[in-house]
Symmetry: D2
Subunit: 455 residues, 4 copies
């Protein structure tokens, strides 16, 4: 504990100080602490709680400190415990006694809540930019590879032929939901806690609306106890971030599987791979693996925060401090992961030939054949059964359905006639899936067009 | 696996069937499965994929099955694996061959996604009702106990005097955020997956917009692969539920602490307590403890779902089935917890006398005295230090600040004068905290009024 | 609350009772509750706290209840809240007033701790049996397919040729660690909590050692407060179970990937697959997927329990009740997963041909060539670089290293001579990996032999 | 990627390198990397894979690097990606070409597994020391305050009088289990992965037993694929650490509650408290709160690791790298928390007077009175009911049982006689709880004695 504060208590034990100080983590909040202090200062002056001359002196010192921070010259001291006291101490050093007036009608409790909100608001802007960028990459890839047909999967087993673009757009939609979730999450951030002071407000005639306006907040938090107890905005962010990571992990895991030589659907650029220290031939998808792994870290941060908050009595408890590194770590994971994933995907090479070869495996036409029979009048459940029998028999013979003659097919069902051939190739099947949202070119093109409208 | 489906494969091993069947869990989805099937049926008929007579037959059978389910007469069979096949088998039993046509242009993949959405939509309605009810209870309690003053806490140590109503309203705000979060989460639910079929859409001329309209969905999911891969809507719900539980756990933990005889601030009604099997005097806050505990279970469900989804390739994987019990369990926890918490809080007795006695401990007037000095011209940081010294000295003497004479106070600072007495009692202090959102009656009354407008 | 207990308090509200009752969950503990009650009874009698005739009457009734439970005839009543009070009420019904003496020197606090320990001890026995069985299956498969060579993977990219048996034995070792972990975890279970009563012990002259002996516990818990507060033994179990599931999930995910037609290394038996409701050709690895998914559920249970316990004051709190379903659910998941996984693996068909074909991809001989150069005197880091260049060039030409002539090789390094051919085929490479624990037949055979010694 | 390795691939993109490098985290492993390299070197020399002169040169350089690291002079470079390549590059710089030979028969895959094991082995030693120290503090406190009686709690409600020492020893036992859990967890660490190379072992004639002996490992991991895939030892540690934190959180939460003025049982030393930036009177239990909070962080690390590993195919995947910061962070949390908690508890002041006053609340004698009646011949369940009625009536009258006359008591039950007075004071009750492990002085003294034997 610092000489600024500890009037009543004996000096903090070194081990205790080491344990409670948070400066290594919360120094990233310094610019926001200054920003909040300036708004607070202007309000104190406007409300005549401090005098104009005092305001000028403090403002000058704060601006100088702001520059020190920007230029990396500010010396953060562990013994000053946290970012707020570091800056306040420096202010007093620079501005003299008048600096001791800035903390009037303010507590670290509302101050940290403000700093976190200012910080997150700014970071989410950048995150939204990176997320949109990733979405653009996906849409662009979908356009560039528009006519590429590949096997679509359920249970990682070949299911039906699809457009590769259709697949890419499925991921686009997940990220678009993430975008909206983040936008919604960030709405809760724009509310001003400052002025709540320790927990109960203050008897100074402050003007919270003025501060809100200066800082661009859309409202003042209307209950001071809630203002300092609440970390929902931060947990909402970490949750939204976990969802982005979840969606990234699904995409990355497919990239990992698809770039094995046995699938060979895609190739990651060398620049996003790593080799082995012992196996000279290796080209490993390390970046994709790490995105997948860091997903778990975001999950861990979310869980830590939830567990941390469970059962905490109102209002501020020091436990809340332990939430700060979780927020900051998640911001970092998310920004880096979005950025690197966007680049990685942009550079992916699609092996169209391998995808087409792959269409020959797994009887991808089976559903269409069952639908064919259904259109001819067979009840779907029976048609399903008939095709199942065909597949069972063919599997032993290592043949595809298209290799059967009409006569052979008729042995399974009299409803087969020569037009069945039209549903036996992937191109035809894809084209026929014209239901809304289906994999036909016409539908996927619509989807892409709409997406471009959003971006 | 069932005789309905398993044409191609050998019979499922008993242990495998035991492992994959989900009927005990997903039978709660049965009414929604019927609802979805009827909409699907009407669409098939409208699109002339089945004939009017077929439609009538199937519809009749489905309605009868619906009644069987409602009346608890429907026999769910484990060997029929899941809710969909149970109902389809019963349909075929009742309607005969024509029943085998219903699954045309549909897959269990889009069907389960639909059922879950219909189920959650309905349950969230009830949850919102219960949540609003809890909020009403809090506001009512805040009105009923409007002038009760108690110690406000930070770090569970007495901080400043506050209105008990102010405290209750702080919890109100947390639940109001939960309300909005749930409303937002439920927006994602109202989108139609049906028609995505297995993953790629269908070549039947279906009309998804028609189905969406019948079911009251606001849009059709525009990418069939996304439609069957996506469980965001469910995870969003579980997250929102976890946040409600988090806020309940904070309130319940305070109730537990405050109803110990040493705090004695409140008394829980007998009806929400339990006694001991060995200690006859015991009146334990079991309900409050269980709400606190079930919070952890909601967290576990959230984490399980996130971990489950990590890295899953598109589109449907059987892993998704394991998400269903997590959803259903969370719905149950949340509904029961909100309901019982509302009742418990409604019946809580406030021990005004104990709260007032408690105001004497912990030097709750200290901040106001420092503010007093600040108004007299002392820099806040210095005023803080002066009061810290007073407290340090008084603590040894086991006295309160109000017990000091003016002369004694002046020994600490010449700025003290006789008007200091006005800031030395809790009533006066509360009244003075008139900053926006502060604990003064005027501000808390505003807060309550606004809240009532929302409810 | 029940008429047995609630002398002091008003009747529990219906909603409160619904919330706190646990009978649906804890009725699986009924046989253990009886077992513990009998031991307690015998001790009360031995210590002359009850009379011989009383003992006989109670014993007779307990034995009858035991049979009712076994035969499923026991009627568990929700309004009797939990398993203990259900059985006590039935006892009083059967034995009359004397039944009211059984709870002398006992509390539900020590009783539930005992029940859980007896239950887990029994279940872990069965789990160890199933786990050992799975290990046996792996070892047997390793023996049966002893000379099958396949690509070993790092980063899911082909790395070096290995014996399939070597791979299977790697999984064996993970499960063997699990076995030991479970054995260790179960050691903590064999300690007697009974006699701790509510928290402080009792003034009755009980004999806890006698009870411990009757129940086969190795020691008496030496601190009564710890005895009723502690759930370490249960969390240890859930952790150990999570680790088993983790290892199963790794194996199952490989099974899923390897049984795609593009890898085609193995084929799961029809009996452990499922088909699609719409795609007739489908054979999906549903069982393997569900094992993978249920891993997340075990994780969720672990996390719930940890979060539940965090910060709980001593001694018993009702929160602990919420741990019980976590234990029971985890037991069920683990038993079923081990059982079905063992069966699934037993029936897996190895596609030796596909594995051998796969050896041609990915330059699996590269490390061996680098080692060859190193043996010839090139520093390893340089040798690594030389081979990297060879691979880079060959990749463009779509050739393998063995297709290069000696002359061509010499262009990369003069250290190549004709004996290089000996390190260019997978069989030779595998054979040469004779370092302890390496993939050579000689080492893998040793590993298998030792494993069989353990089983 | 570095110039040491990237022969085959194009240069790593800057963003990719930023994403995959881990040097800020894994530089704490540097001393262990050196230690492992020296052992590997000596083995290579012993096995004549390198020459004596080469060995000497490399050894000299490694020792110099070791000193550079110790003295903080070593320049870790991000572009060299990780700790292994940083040290290898520096080695080559210092020793020249011969340095390129050290990586013979080694891969980063087995190297990192070794480094982590060496690191954890060392850290666990220190952790065990700190844990034992904490246990000693508890035992010492238990001795120092031996005759202090306080209310024991269940459900945070007063239950029965207990010795404060009994309570302290309950926590001791939890930590003693932690000690044993950590010892067990560390057993799995002492197994040598080195020599597994990438995954398959090597064709060089290495001697793994020799390396194991040099490094003090008790065995060589007998399956090379398992050796590089396995992180059980690390997860076991994080789990064990989570359990320690769980137990610390329970203790700390009690300290927080008990040091409120309303309980007032204990007082934390100023040196482990902090004050408020706005409320001058405040003395907050910040250290205790942070220990409680950091528990959640340990949980998050555990969960992240479990989620990370789920479904990972054998053998090494880059995901594993993301486990390293989880290990290192958990080590740091645990060490600091144990250390500071030990100091905090050592300095706690027990307010004996407040504890004794507290004995008057909550009818702590009720169980003993019921037991009294039971000894007189009343069936326990009836005795329980009788005392429940007494308490119900007294509560209204705000009296304790000891304030009732014998006549009054007899109105509840004729079994009361004058000797009842002997069970109506806390001292007598504590003394009577002589069952094994009970709260009587005789039993607690035994417990303390045994504990001292263990320490």
């Amino acid at each position: 504990m610092t000489n600024i504060l500890k009037g009543r208590l004996k000096k903090t034990a070194t081990k205790a100080l080491d344990y409670i100080e948070s400066i290594e983590v919360d120094k990233v909040l310094a610019p926001y602490d200054i920003q909040g202090s300036i708004a607070h200062l202007l309000m104190l002056s406007k409300c005549k709680i401090i005098k104009p001359a005092e305001k000028r002196k403090i403002l000058k010192a704060l601006k100088e400190i702001e520059i020190e921070i920007k230029q990396g010259r500010f010396k953060f001291k562990k013994e000053l415990e946290d970012v707020h006291l570091n800056i306040e101490a420096r202010l007093i050093e620079k501005a003299g006694e008048v600096g001791k007036k800035l903390h009037t009608a303010r507590s670290r409790n509302d101050q940290i809540a403000l700093d976190l909100r200012l910080y997150l608001r700014e970071e989410i802007k950048e995150i939204l930019f990176l997320l949109k960028n990733l979405e653009k990459v996906l849409v662009k890839k979908a356009e560039q590879n528009f006519n590429v047909i590949m096997p679509g999967f359920t249970h990682l087993q070949p299911a039906q032929p699809i457009l590769y673009s259709h697949y890419l757009m499925a991921h686009f939609h997940a990220f678009q939901r993430d975008y909206e979730r983040l936008v919604k999450a960030s709405q809760g951030i724009n509310e001003l806690p400052l002025g709540a002071c320790a927990l109960a407000g203050t008897s100074f005639p402050i003007d919270r609306k003025f501060v809100a306006k200066l800082l661009g907040f859309k409202k003042v938090i209307p209950n001071s106890m809630d203002a300092v107890s609440n970390r929902d905005f931060a947990i909402d962010f970490i949750y939204a971030a976990s969802m982005v990571m979840l969606h990234l992990s699904r995409l990355m895991n497919e990239i990992i599987i698809w770039s094995t030589p046995f699938f060979g659907f895609i190739e990651i650029s060398d620049e996003f791979c790593a080799t082995s220290s012992i196996m000279p031939q290796k080209k490993n998808p390390d970046v994709a693996e790490l995105v997948r792994a860091k997903t778990s870290r975001a999950y861990g941060n979310l869980l830590s925060f939830l567990s941390l908050m469970k059962g905490l009595p109102l209002t501020y408890n020091r436990d809340l401090q332990e939430g700060n590194p979780l927020i900051i770590d998640t911001v970092s994971i998310l920004k880096k992961s979005l950025d690197v994933a966007g680049e990685l995907i942009k550079d992916i090479k699609v092996n169209k030939g391998n995808m087409e070869d792959a269409l020959k495996k797994g009887f991808l036409e089976a559903t269409e054949v069952a639908d064919y029979l259904t259109r001819k009048g067979v009840a779907f459940r029976n048609a399903h059964q008939i095709v199942a029998c065909i597949v069972r028999d063919l599997e032993k013979r290592e043949k595809g359905i298209s290799q059967l003659s009409l006569a052979e097919l008729k042995r399974y069902s009299p409803y087969f006639s020569s037009d069945v051939k039209k549903v036996l190739n992937p191109q035809a099947i894809v084209k026929k899936k014209k239901s809304e949202g289906g994999t036909s070119q016409i539908e996927v093109r619509k989807d892409i067009k709409k997406a471009k409208g959003l971006l």
